[in-house]
Structures are given as structure tokens and as C-alpha cells.
């Protein structure tokens, strides 16, 4: 069985159809091929190729020394990655699912995030922790957490999340090259989303947000699994005569405040959309920063469309929890449009 990595010529110039899982696979293959310090390890990433097949074929191609299965212990995976990085390697490790990264939390927060600081810059840990995260796949409990804020709140960690196959490739290559530890959050519901694209390491910087759709009336700010829904909502809003701009944050930590603030200063209205619970969610930080930086440009309060403040629901109830196009459109309606007949710009 040929893997995605084998089928694609390295850095192919012609656009090819690729899934996010395939793009990530290619990024790992190219990183392994270009830098012998790169290692890939975790649970089921070797022979099986990962439960989402992101590491498919890599063990065969690069050998067990560089791509391997570990004993089942997440704390050990991250802890040993730290030791390996201290000895000059660049580990890329996988946590099988969002909630199964928690046993590694101590290694991540007490060491991975802090070693540079503790040693006054003498110890560098260029480690990438890949974490499939978020819901929308009908998964049972502990398989659907949006865990980004645990990491984003921890100084010293970079937290990034791609929303498209092309960006998954670029961001992962950048994350592997990055001298800081990177929590690389992969939105599971987008793994099988296909795009015809060229995969290339160069692109927007690892810490930059990008504008996915231009618009002049309102800025919709999202990331990861919720970006697709946000783009659909922007499309639907256009039919109502509202021109919505959509920003894909990509980097949650650090936050690209310049790009986002400039956009919101132009439109004067902003909504943050994410799957994670609203309370202390990423939207709270964005709203706070924007009100600090763009207060005089704002025409309305910054709104959040987010998951409820509940543990992730069982499959049969998850559709109620996830941000939907309608919920985003409702939020747009509530943005205090001036020329409205009954409080909404389009009079919906």
C-alpha cells in the first residue's frame, strides 16, 4: 500500500487534491527527510500509522529508529521528548486524542513550557506535540475536548491550529523548525476535508493570523474546526447583504493582535467563533484585547459564538453544542446595526 507521502513527489509544484491528514503526513515525511534530528513517536504511530493515519508509512520509510511506538504513557512520551531535545534531537510526538494528553500535563506545564525561562535561554526545546482535538465527529466521551486554553494559558508554549490541508502542511513544517515548544492542535473534524493545493513550507508565519475572506461590515474571527462553519456563515450573511470578513487565527499563542486589530478597526464589529466553552475561552481573550486596542472603532460589543459551559456532550446531543451557521447569523444580527428597521442591518 503506497502512502500519501510516497505518492506525492516532495514539494510537488502542481496542485494536488489532499486531505488534512494527508498534508500532515507529507509534512512529517518531508521534515524527516530534510532533518535527521527529527523523530516521530507516540502510541500506535509506527506500524499502524496512527489512529487517524497521519503517520501512515513513515515507520517503513524512515525506520524504527526515527518513527516508533512507545509504551502507553503520555507523561513518558513528553518527558522523554524533553530529554531527547536536550540532547539535540527534534521530537514530534503524538497524543492520541485531546483528553489523553492530560497525563502529560505536568511535563508540559512544569518543564516543556518553562525550561527556556528557568535556564535563562540556555535550554531550548524544539518539540512539537501533535494533538487531534475538538468534536463534531460523533465521538464518545474523552474524544472531543477543545483543550486549547489549557495550553494557551501557559506562557512558554506556542499553540497553533490549522484549518485547511495546505495550512496544516505549512504550519507543521514551521512548528517543527520552530525553536520553541509547539502544541500543534489538529481539528479532527477537518482531517478528511480535501483541498486541491500545493503543499509548501513557506507561507504566513507561524505566529500570524490570515484573512480567509475579505469583507467590510463585520469581522468573524475563528480557528481550527469552527473555521469552516464560520466561512459558511459569512457566505450566508452575504445573501442578507452583509459583507463579513473571516480571520483564521492559526496561532492562538501568541495572538496576532496586529492583524486582528487592524481588521476590526476597519469593520468596527467583531464576533469570535469557537467550539470550546465560552467561559474563559479564547474568545474572552480576543474580546478583551480588541476592546483595549480598538475601543474607539467599535460600533458594537464584541460577541462570542462558542460551545456551552458544559462538558462535551454525547454524540446524540453534540449538534446542539457546536457553533452553527444560524447561531453565527443570529450573533451578526445582534451587532447594533444603525440603519436597521428592527434592530438588524438587513431587517431579518
Amino acid at each position: 500500500m503506497s502512502t500519501v507521502a510516497e505518492r506525492l513527489p516532495e514539494l510537488a509544484a502542481a496542485p494536488i487534491p489532499v486531505t488534512m491528514a494527508g498534508a500532515l503526513n507529507q509534512a512529517l515525511a518531508d521534515a524527516l527527510a530534510t532533518d535527521e534530528r527529527v523523530l516521530v513517536f507516540g502510541e500506535d504511530v509506527g506500524t499502524l500509522g496512527g489512529v487517524f493515519r497521519v503517520t501512515d508509512g513513515l515507520a517503513t520509510r524512515f525506520g524504527e529508529n526515527r518513527v516508533f511506538d512507545t509504551p502507553l504513557a503520555e507523561s513518558a512520551i513528553v518527558g522523554t521528548a524533553i530529554g531527547m531535545a536536550m540532547n539535540g534531537l527534534r521530537p514530534v510526538v503524538e497524543m492520541q486524542f485531546d483528553a489523553f494528553a492530560y497525563p502529560a500535563f505536568e511535563q508540559i506545564t512544569s518543564h516543556l513550557a518553562k525550561l527556556r525561562n528557568r535556564t535563562q535561554g540556555r535550554v531550548e526545546l524544539p518539540i512539537v506535540i501533535r494533538v487531534p482535538y475538538g468534536g463534531g465527529i460523533g465521538g464518545v466521551e474523552h474524544h472531543c475536548d477543545s483543550s486549547e486554553m489549557y495550553y494557551a494559558h501557559t506562557p512558554g508554549l506556542r499553540v497553533v491550529t490549522p484549518a485547511t490541508p495546505a495550512d496544516a502542511y505549512t504550519l507543521l513544517r514551521q512548528a517543527i523548525d520552530c525553536p520553541d515548544p509547539v502544541i500543534f492542535l489538529e481539528p479532527k473534524r477537518r482531517y478528511w476535508a480535501k483541498e486541491t493545493t500545493v503543499l509548501e513550507p513557506a507561507g504566513a508565519g507561524i505566529d500570524r493570523a490570515v484573512i480567509r475572506r475579505t469583507g467590510s461590515d463585520v469581522t468573524l474571527i475563528s480557528y481550527g474546526g469552527a473555521l469552516g462553519t464560520t466561512l459558511e456563515a459569512a457566505e450566508a450573511a452575504a445573501e442578507d447583504g452583509i459583507s463579513a470578513e473571516v480571520i483564521d487565527l492559526r496561532s492562538l499563542a501568541p495572538f496576532d493582535e496586529d492583524t486582528v486589530a487592524a481588521a476590526v478597526a476597519r469593520t468596527g464589529r467583531a464576533i469570535v467563533v469557537h467550539e470550546a466553552s465560552r467561559f474563559c475561552g479564547y474568545g474572552a481573550e480576543v474580546a478583551a484585547q480588541l476592546s483595549e486596542r480598538c475601543f474607539h472603532y467599535l460600533e458594537a460589543p464584541i460577541l462570542r459564538v462558542a460551545g456551552f459551559d458544559i462538558p462535551y456532550p454525547p454524540p446524540n446531543l453534540e449538534s446542539h453544542h457546536l457553533p452553527s451557521v444560524d447561531r453565527i447569523l443570529d450573533a451578526i444580527d445582534r451587532l447594533q446595526w444603525p440603519d436597521a428597521v428592527n434592530g438588524t442591518k438587513a431587517g431579518r
Binding site: 502510541e43 509506527g46 506500524t47 499502524l48 502507553l72 513518558a76 458544559i310 462538558p311 446524540n316
Partner: protein, 374 residues
């Protein structure tokens, strides 16, 4: 409580046997005399009954995934002797701490199968009442349930109750730090806990050889000062015998036991997994001939404890139970969205009440719009 009083003086008393203990060999013949005592005939018959019903339940659950009635199902086919043998060894007042793999064990403990499958059907997380059933919610974060079992058992000691906690875990889960912390806690506090490791050869795709370098998983007990037993996990009689003995020791204040039951996962990790990617058919075949159910059937038949008529009657019961389960699972359930907000805190917070109202208002609008379109 003096933790050290019950410690055996010699390491040899703690170490497991070199080969797994057994009572019935794979062909169904009595194993050579050993340290285990054959359970009573009536117990053997109950074990057989439990395994036949358990296997039928398991096959039915797998079928329900194909019909889209279950989101996913991790089968325990091939592990019936462990699932049933361990659970039947429990007394009424004891507690079971199962994993996602152990639906069969939970059903054998007496929990309504539809309540058990609630999780995998996607209706709610845990469908049964743990306190009423004395069964903790099936645990997915690996090895975390070991500590709960130690805590519950220790609480029983503190309260002066005669309760033993049996925790189920897999070979893979023994690599997690929690397992080791639990074993140590249990030993230090001499808690009435039985650790039952089902070594089915794999943690998803990862074989045991990549999980441990120990002579056996049971050998891990010695470092904590825990008595350890290695048992043939496809021999229901032997499993029952060692778990019963461990439960009796725990109840008598003699502390925890670590049991490794050597078995095999016949099916893929779950219906979503493809085991052909990491193991060959010949290996599976080699375990099919060690089938726990036919092994006990052969033994019972030889002993005159099972005849064709009784076998047929049991098969008919299994079929009837499967048909009933199918029928009950084929009913479309309606989940109440208000449940989302109901059990987050003891008392609903104002914020959650507001969010519930938001959702209900939204659903009312959707319903009205749908009405309009009809």
C-alpha cells in the same frame, strides 16, 4: 491500621508462577494438579452460562455498530473467561471498576445491557447508576480507574465495611503511571483491591513486547510488595479460582492482589480498527483453538455436567436475549437537550440557566420554521 503487618516475609510469596496457572487445558481436559482448587460444579455451570450469554451479547453489540445503532464497540470476544470469571467471583457487596472493553463484564454483573450500551449508542456517557449497581462508569482514560478502585476500597476499610474493589485494566494500561501509583497506594494502605489485568496481547496495534520488558505483567507486583498471580485468562475455572481467592484475602484484611490473565483479543481494537495492518491471521487462528467457551464446554460435557439438551436450551436463551436487545436498541431514542445543562453542578448556575434558555428559544424557532415549511 498498621500497613506492614500483612506483608509476607519472603519475596517468593509475592512472585507469580512461571507459567500461567490453569485448571482446564485448551482441549478441555483437567490440567495437572496444581495450587488451584476446581470450583464447584454449580459454579462451573454458571461460568459457562455467563460466557455463552456474554459472547452472544458481544456479537450482537458488534452487529449493532454495522446497523449504525452504536457509535463504536470494543469487542471482548475471546476474553469471556476473564470478563465472566472475574465478575462471578465478586460478592454482592463488592465493586467493579471496568473499562470500555468490559461491557460484557458489566452486563454479567447484572446491569441492564441497554443501560450499558447507552455510552456507545451516544445517548449519554454513563447509562447506569454506579452506586446501585456497584459498578463504576466504564472508564476510557486508561489506568485512571485503578486509583478509584484503591480509594473506594480504602474508604471501605476506613468505614469498617466489608467491600472489595475489583479493577479491570489492559496490558497497555499497565504502562501508565497511574497503575503504578495505584499498586503502591494499595500496598502501603493494605487496601482490599484486586487488580485484574487482561493481557490480550495488544494495546490497539502495539504488541506486549513493546509495552514491557518484564518476565510477565504479574511480576510488576513484587516491586510494590503486592502478591501477584499469573493465570490462564482463557480458563474460566482458573480465573474464577484466583479472583475468588484474591477477594477472600482482601476481605480478610490481607491486602491487594495483582492478577495477570493471559488472553487474546480476537476482534480488532474496535469495529473502527483494522487489525490486519499489524497482525497476521495465523496468530489469530492460533488463539481461536484456545477458545475459552468451547474449552469449558468440552470439560463440562466430559464430566457429564452439560448435555446437548442443556446446551441447546442455553443457546436458545442467548438468542432470545440477543433478539430482545436488538429490539430494544432499534428503538429511536430522543435525547432531551435540557440534559446538557442539568448535571454540570449540584445546582444549576445562572449562566447555565441562561444558556439553556438560549438553546430552547433557538430550538423553538427552528421548530416553527419547520412547521412553516410543511
Amino acid at each position: 491500621m498498621n500497613p506492614s503487618t500483612s506483608l509476607p516475609s519472603r519475596p517468593a510469596d509475592l512472585l507469580p508462577s512461571e507459567v500461567p496457572l490453569s485448571l482446564i487445558d485448551p482441549a478441555g481436559r483437567p490440567a495437572p494438579e496444581g495450587e488451584l482448587t476446581m470450583p464447584a460444579d454449580e459454579v462451573l455451570q454458571r461460568l459457562y452460562r455467563g460466557m455463552v450469554l456474554g459472547r452472544r451479547f458481544d456479537v450482537q453489540a458488534t452487529a449493532l455498530t454495522k446497523q449504525g445503532r452504536l457509535a463504536v464497540y470494543p469487542s471482548a470476544r475471546g476474553q469471556e473467561a476473564g470478563e465472566i470469571g472475574a465478575v462471578l467471583a465478586l460478592r454482592e457487596q463488592d465493586w467493579l471498576f471496568p473499562t470500555y472493553r468490559d461491557s460484557m463484564a458489566v452486563v454479567a454483573r447484572g446491569v441492564d445491557p441497554v443501560e450499558v450500551l447507552c455510552l456507545l449508542r451516544g445517548d449519554w456517557h454513563c447509562g447506569y447508576d454506579p452506586a446501585r449497581e456497584r459498578v463504576a462508569p466504564q472508564c476510557t482514560p486508561l489506568a485512571t480507574n485503578t486509583l478509584h478502585a484503591v480509594g473506594l476500597a480504602h474508604a471501605a476499610t476506613v468505614k469498617g465495611e466489608d467491600t472489595v474493589a475489583l479493577v479491570l485494566l489492559g496490558d497497555g494500561a499497565t504502562s501508565e503511571g497511574d497503575t503504578h501509583e495505584a499498586l503502591n497506594f494499595a500496598a502501603v494502605f493494605n487496601t482490599p483491591t484486586v487488580f485484574f489485568v487482561q493481557n490480550n496481547g495488544y494495546a490497539i496495534s502495539v504488541p506486549l513486547a513493546k509495552q514491557t520488558h518484564a518476565p510477565s505483567l504479574a511480576h510488576k507486583g513484587i516491586g510494590y510488595g503486592i502478591r501477584s498471580v499469573l493465570v490462564d485468562g482463557n480458563d474460566a475455572a482458573a480465573v474464577y479460582a484466583v479472583v475468588s481467592a484474591a477477594v477472600a484475602r482482601a476481605a480478610a484484611g490481607e491486602g491487594p492482589t495483582l492478577i495477570e490473565a493471559v488472553t487474546y483479543r480476537i476482534e480488532s481494537h474496535t469495529n473502527a480498527d483494522d487489525a490486519t495492518r499489524y497482525r497476521d491471521r495465523a496468530e489469530v487462528e492460533s488463539w481461536l483453538v484456545k477458545d475459552p467457551v468451547s474449552r469449558l464446554a468440552n470439560y463440562l460435557t466430559e464430566r457429564g455436567l452439560l448435555d446437548e439438551q442443556a446446551g441447546a436450551a442455553l443457546d436458545a436463551t442467548a438468542e432470545a436475549q440477543a433478539a430482545q436487545l436488538r429490539a430494544r436498541m432499534n428503538v429511536d431514542t430522543v435525547s432531551d437537550p435540557r440534559d446538557l445543562f442539568r448535571h454540570v453542578y449540584a445546582q444549576q448556575t445562572p449562566a447555565l440557566r441562561r444558556q439553556e434558555q438560549e438553546l430552547l428559544a433557538e430550538l423553538a424557532v427552528t421548530e416553527a420554521t419547520e412547521e412553516d415549511h410543511r
